[in-house]
Symmetry: C2
Subunit: 179 residues, 2 copies
């Protein structure tokens, strides 16, 4: 009986933390993607960015459905998003393509990360009314990973404009409906 | 007169944003450090982590002294800290030393980043009473950068324990007095 109780408690604890576990998987995938980029496995890293996006899609849903949303979870989510959809895709594009543009490539990479952080910080202090303000960073990160996979069909110089465009769209003040 | 007024307005705007500008410099330094790590300039990257720490030391002080603290600034600060003192030092140690330990090196690197994110998320949802709970991530990041600079005097395998130790210390519940 005591054993059943202990299993039940552990199950409840796991269920309570399920959304945060998904967020940690998002962050873990993003961190692994960074290591793979450094090791030269860029396509695998792009795959991990998509995996992070899947985890990110479900952590909020799980939290709402199980009624276990928490401020801690929201903070963790933003931190994970900056790694998985800010730093990882920016470095993926830099390491594979933009490295050839010297200072311009570096500046655009850093700018994308800065704009992603501004987007996330603004989102965290704004009351959510069903619409996002500016392009959400997971969308920007997935687009970058997708463009990376299509890199043989896109002239290299276009990636500078893609990075610039996504940076501007993230800090834009237009409304985007939540899917 | 109109020109003086315009200059005054711009000066005021710059002053109001001075703390956030320092936070952006922190994040910019951390992002640049990541690029330098990928390019193999590890010592320069360590220098940028220290520069990020200096910016991080002053952004809060400037915000309090000028009475311009904001929730947006606090959010931006945490996001910057995760890059500059979480991701950058972890990848610095991985790329220079821990890469030789295969899966163990990867797991410890990812764990350090995860623990850093947990530390930051917990801090953001806790009312600050003058004491930090657990080792602050800027201290952990600077220690890692310092150990990296002393790497010729430290056996490589010790870096696994250093990463593990700092990870545990960050998520610990002991109190650390703010300097």
């Amino acid at each position: 009986m005591s054993f059943t109780k202990s299993v039940d408690t552990k199950k409840k604890l796991l269920l309570n933390q399920s959304a945060n576990i998904l967020t940690m998987l998002n962050l873990g995938s993003g961190s692994m993607a960074l290591i793979l980029i450094m090791k030269g496995h860029a396509s695998l890293a792009a795959g991990l960015i998509f995996l992070a996006a899947i985890c990110d899609m479900y952590d909020g849903k799980v939290a709402r459905n199980l009624n276990i949303s928490s401020d801690f979870g929201k903070q963790l989510d933003s931190l994970a998003d900056l790694i998985s959809f800010g730093v990882a895709p920016a470095l993926l594009i830099y390491q594979s393509i933009l490295f050839q543009y010297s200072i311009a490539g570096i500046l655009l990479t850093v700018m994308y990360i800065l704009c992603g952080a501004i987007r996330l910080a603004r989102f965290n202090v704004t009351t959510f009314t069903g619409n996002f303000q500016g392009l959400p960073i997971p969308a920007a990160g997935c687009l970058l990973a997708l463009f990376f996979l299509m890199k043989f069909y896109i002239p290299s110089v276009f990636f500078m404009f893609i990075l610039l465009g996504l940076s501007v769209l993230m800090i834009g003040t237009f409304k985007v409906k939540k899917i």
